[in-house]
Symmetry: C2
Subunit: 245 residues, 2 copies
């Protein structure tokens, strides 16, 4: 991986023992907008979780921010989120907010999008390493976060645990997910919404089934795509910490 650097945007903001630093990093001519969260007090190598947000959202969506703060504040674990393709600060200036979902679907039809996104995450991890000593690495991402996450976890050997879900072999990326899932060999927690109206649970089951690891478990809750219970979200950081700390 080429040496990545962190172009900080603004000063770090510290609250409740968690430092938040917005930054850009460069990857193959693309600017990758990102955020690093870390515990205020760091000693030695710190575990880090890469956070992939869902479609139409951005790197500082409420639940991403909550996971990042819990990881740092309760478990001493850093995290990095990036804006996914055509999301957040990567949306074209003046683009129509009503078209966010359509733009997201179109972006994933570009054959390059998957591999570019993998390298964007790797660049953001590299940028974090230019700032601090990083220990074990994990991944968290539901829905589009799993569209990004399965290829990333398959490609990046440093990722040793992942939380995935709300996605199956779907749309333009179906074949790529089928191809990469067997390469996911780390422990995985996989979430399913039982009444998912966007990604039918049978598709989610298929992706879970095809993950290469035997150390995987599935959790399902009633309700539609976006109704993940708060209790499930609250449980994620502790499970990641068990594997990373």
């Amino acid at each position: 991986m080429a040496m990545a650097t962190m172009d900080k945007i603004g000063d770090p903001v510290t609250g409740r023992g968690v430092v938040e630093q917005r930054f850009d990093t460069a990857c193959e001519g693309r600017t990758v907008p990102a955020i690093l969260w870390r515990p205020e007090a760091i000693e030695g190598a710190t575990p880090l979780v890469l956070l992939g947000h869902g479609g139409t959202l951005h790197k500082r969506a409420d639940y991403i921010l909550a996971i990042a703060r819990w990881l740092a504040g309760r478990h001493g674990i850093a995290s990095v989120a990036i804006d996914g393709p055509v999301h957040g600060d990567r949306r074209a200036p003046g683009s129509d907010p009503e078209k966010t979902f359509d733009d997201f679907v179109q972006a994933w039809k570009r054959p390059q999008t998957v591999d570019e996104t993998v390298r964007d995450f790797q660049a953001a991890l590299g940028a974090a390493e230019s700032e601090m000593a990083v220990g074990a690495v994990g991944y968290f991402g539901f829905s589009m976060g799993t569209m990004m996450g399965v290829p990333l976890v398959a490609a990046e050997p440093r990722i040793s645990v992942a939380v995935l879900g709300l996605m199956g072999p779907w749309g333009s990326i179906a074949d790529r997910l089928r191809q990469d899932a067997p390469e996911v060999t780390c422990p995985v927690r996989f979430l399913v919404q039982w009444d998912d109206e966007l990604i039918a649970r049978e598709l989610c089951f298929e992706l879970f089934d095809s993950l290469g690891t035997r150390d995987k478990h599935l959790r399902a809750h009633p309700g539609p795509h976006r109704a993940v219970p708060a209790s499930e979200m609250r449980d994620v950081p502790g499970w990641l910490a068990e594997h990373l700390s």
Copy 2:
């Protein structure tokens, strides 16, 4: 419910703060062999979990004993297990151990078995109440434990939380489970073994789907029927305690 009494068998055995008392209780002319586990130190009403073992096993199977000891020792929660129909001390004297599975299947073909088993559990709960003040009541049982548990939880309004799984509408009891599942309205954790060779996961999904409660979640792990991970078992008492204490 008729007043049930506890016919103690032997003296209580105490270890690591947990008291174990074997007993029989009578129900409609049947003798119900049972065990009560309780914390050594009791103050006031104590929550209690009814434990239903799996087919071919008995009331003191290893995992039942482990759950009972964790509940009492870590969470201050009592529990009562009974031998299911034609299991444990209810097997006919001299019956062939090789025929345990066949006898189990035959027993559930008797139309009376389901309702008798519900009343046997209720009698065992009554017997426990003749010994101690019982607070909130829960249920735990996988596989045959869920064949017994779904009708019991549907019928017994005192049960306010249940751990079920490894079962679907199956065999002679399929219609009864389909009929009773919508009457299960308490919070439920439901376990599925992804590669279950006895009860296909699709059947388990059907039973989970038909449970009447919205406060339910499903957990699935790779592996066959009997390969529930130890980590999943260890997590059960704490989850029950959250709801009962």
